[in-house]
């Protein structure tokens, strides 16, 4: 379905109409009632889809490793200007998908485009529009960050004067002349982020950018992703931890066993996955009985008790209400624990439902 804004030739009122490409429709002006005919063009709409709207397009991607089907007929589109999360448990095919996008591995079938350039037919142009951070990024141990960045920027085809500012941007200026071989994992990852920005590409593809890093580094990388996105870049990154993507991504795709399970906004996905927190509330003197007042609260799904601990599965919005009602009824709350369900749990649910 295409949307087009047209102007009434009679009264100059502007209004929008909808129709499929190539379709001829009757138009009636909403203000003066003049009738007319409008034909939607065919080619124009098609080319806008392939070149203007998507930063990354994957169509029917399949990759087999001997007998193992790592990616199975996967289709995905990442819109320009969005932060897109590729989620899945370990071994779901995330890295394989990402490596296929970059042309680092050869696919069995499928078509991949970055910024409208086919990765096989227009490999140089496609790779010139993307910055890639590999899952286990590594550089040359014997080089300093400056030597590394000088080499990489020259290889990319830009002047090596970009090296120092980029190293400073990720906060590695203090280690400018140390050998990369002496770096911690987080520092190597930051250098990885610095090299990603060489050439100012419009698309960034980051494979587990926060994987195995401590909170401080994670924060730096999250901020960097946000800034790049604000500057207009499209970011595709993978993760196996739901909380990493929740507040960062505009849209998320979930893959498992090489197949796309869901592709949606985070809010819709939460609904779809039925991800609900579980509360563990310690109340002295509960003695394994569920208080009646709990059962009537809206949003509570399951409530049960064991000894002095109350277990409640509920909608997120009901959490504070439950605590308030419990306290108002005169119970003493010793401790509260909220257990957010892991993505893996959600997967099990999803797969069970699919089967």
């Amino acid at each position: 379905m295409n949307t087009k804004t047209i102007m009434c030739p009679q009264c100059k009122t502007k209004f929008t109409i909808q129709g499929n490409s190539g379709e001829k429709i009757q138009v009636v002006c909403p203000s003066c009632g003049v009738k007319g005919v409008f034909t939607f063009s065919i080619d124009q709409t098609k080319s806008t889809i392939t070149h203007d709207s998507y930063a990354v397009e994957i169509n029917d991607l399949t990759k087999k490793f001997k007998d193992l089907v790592a990616v199975n007929n996967l289709s995905l589109n990442v819109k320009k200007g969005e932060i897109f999360g590729l989620l899945g448990p370990n071994g779901a095919g995330k890295s394989t998908t990402i490596k296929s996008i970059l042309g680092l591995i050869h696919t069995n079938s499928g078509e991949i485009k970055i910024n409208g350039f086919d990765i096989i037919k227009k490999g140089i142009e496609a790779r010139a529009s993307v910055g890639y951070l590999p899952e286990r990024v590594a550089f040359y141990d014997n080089l300093t960050p400056l030597q590394t960045m000088n080499f990489l920027s020259e290889l990319w085809g830009v002047d090596k004067s970009v090296s120092k500012p980029l190293i400073k941007e990720v906060g590695l200026e203090g280690a400018m002349n140390r050998k990369v071989g002496t770096f911690s994992k987080g520092m190597v990852q930051l250098l990885g982020v610095a090299q990603v920005m060489i050439g100012n590409p419009p698309v960034y593809i980051l494979d587990e950018p926060m994987g195995g890093l401590d909170a401080r580094w994670v924060k730096i990388i999250r901020e960097k992703i946000k800034i790049l996105n604000k500057q207009g870049a499209t970011i595709l990154f993978s993760s196996h931890i739901l909380s990493e993507v929740e507040n960062l991504c505009h849209r998320v795709a979930i893959i498992n066993k090489g197949k796309l399970i869901a592709e949606d906004t985070v809010a819709n996905l939460n609904k779809y996955l039925q991800i609900k927190p579980r509360l563990e509330i310690s109340i002295p003197g509960l003695n394994g009985e569920v208080p009646d007042i709990i059962k009537n609260i809206e949003g509570v799904e399951i409530a049960n008790a064991k000894n002095d601990t109350l277990f409640i599965t509920c909608e997120s919005y009901a959490k504070s209400k439950i605590i308030a009602i419990l306290q108002n009824s005169g119970m003493t709350i010793d401790n509260i624990k909220t257990l957010e369900p892991s993505l893996e749990d959600a997967f099990v649910k999803l797969i069970e439902r699919d089967a």
Binding site: K99, L102, G103, L104, I105, H106, G123, I124, E125, R127, A128, V130, Y132, P134, R136, V137, A138, F139, Y140, N142, F151, L152, E154, L155, W156, G157, G192, Q195
Partner: protein, 284 residues
């Protein structure tokens, strides 16, 4: 195939070359070559029995070539065996190949960069050594000596091409070490096979010792780059017969300088083409 980007090739080559300057390998190699030349010249001088400290260029090279035809392949293999497999395993190659460069450019860059290390160290090492000999003994057969330097570099490139081929094919650094060992000992393995065929076809050990061997036995050096190199070095000095244990054996007509250069070139280009296909098809 579209045109290659010389800037990308140059950048890769420069990096490989600079690595060997940073880790001082290039200095070590140059020193090894100078010392080798001097030592063999000294040995050749002692043999002459005319009181010279150093031997002439030709005798020096004839003594040296048995060692250099092993040492140069060894160096080339060490330089190239993990250049692709090692970087693929460590992960550095992931970044490189996600850049707007072609794999063939990376391959050629590596060959030229590592090749420059060989050119530089052999030229400087053998060059300096040669100058010392010429200064103390005389410049006889300097043309042959110059050919020897060029042929040594050529031999280095053959084994570099072979080791890069191994590196493109092997998934891991460890397996490419195995491949490197195989190509290093190829001359020995192949020599044993040919010798086996010789004895199997009715020739005795005595025939072998006295040089009573068929031409095909000689011509078979074309399948062993090290032996082909040694033969070419002899011919470069204008020597077409081998003197050993009182017997003189003529090198067959078939093994002309042109023929040997073609053999060298084939040994260089085929592994390189294979390396290109292995690398192009490689999954990271």
């Amino acid at each position: 195939m579209k045109v290659l980007n010389p800037k990308a090739i140059y950048t890769i080559a420069k990096k490989e070359f600079m690595d060997n300057i940073r880790n001082k390998w290039i200095i070590l190699l140059t020193l090894i070559f100078v010392i080798l030349i001097i030592v063999f010249s000294y040995l050749a001088g002692g043999q002459s029995g005319e009181g010279d400290v150093f031997g002439g260029l030709q005798n020096t090279v004839f003594g040296l070539v048995g060692i250099s035809s092993l040492l140069i392949p060894l160096i080339a293999i060490i330089l190239g065996f993990s250049t692709i497999s090692g970087e693929a395993e460590s992960g550095a190659l992931y970044v490189i190949l996600s850049y707007p460069v072609k794999r063939v450019e990376v391959l050629i860059g590596k060959l030229l960069g590592l090749g420059s290390v060989i050119i530089f160290s052999i030229f400087l090492g053998f060059g300096l050594g040669g100058i010392i000999i010429m200064a103390s003994y005389g410049a006889e057969a300097w043309g042959g000596y110059l050919s020897f330097i060029v042929l040594s570099i050529f031999l280095g490139f053959i084994y570099l091409s072979l080791s890069i081929c191994i590196s493109s094919f092997c998934k891991k650094r460890v397996t490419s070490i195995g491949g490197g060992i195989l190509i290093f000992f190829w001359g020995l393995i192949y020599g044993s096979i040919v010798l086996g065929i010789l004895f199997g076809s009715g020739y005795s050990f005595e025939d072998f010792q006295t040089g009573n061997v068929p031409d095909w036995f000689f011509n078979s050096v074309v399948f062993s780059p090290g032996d082909a190199h040694q033969t070419a070095v002899q011919i470069a000095f204008g020597v077409r017969n081998i003197e050993a244990m009182g017997f003189s054996i003529e090198i067959p007509e078939f093994l002309s300088m042109e023929m040997l250069l073609i053999v060298h070139f084939i040994w260089f280009i085929i592994p390189l083409i294979l390396a290109y296909f292995f690398f192009k098809r490689r999954d990271l």
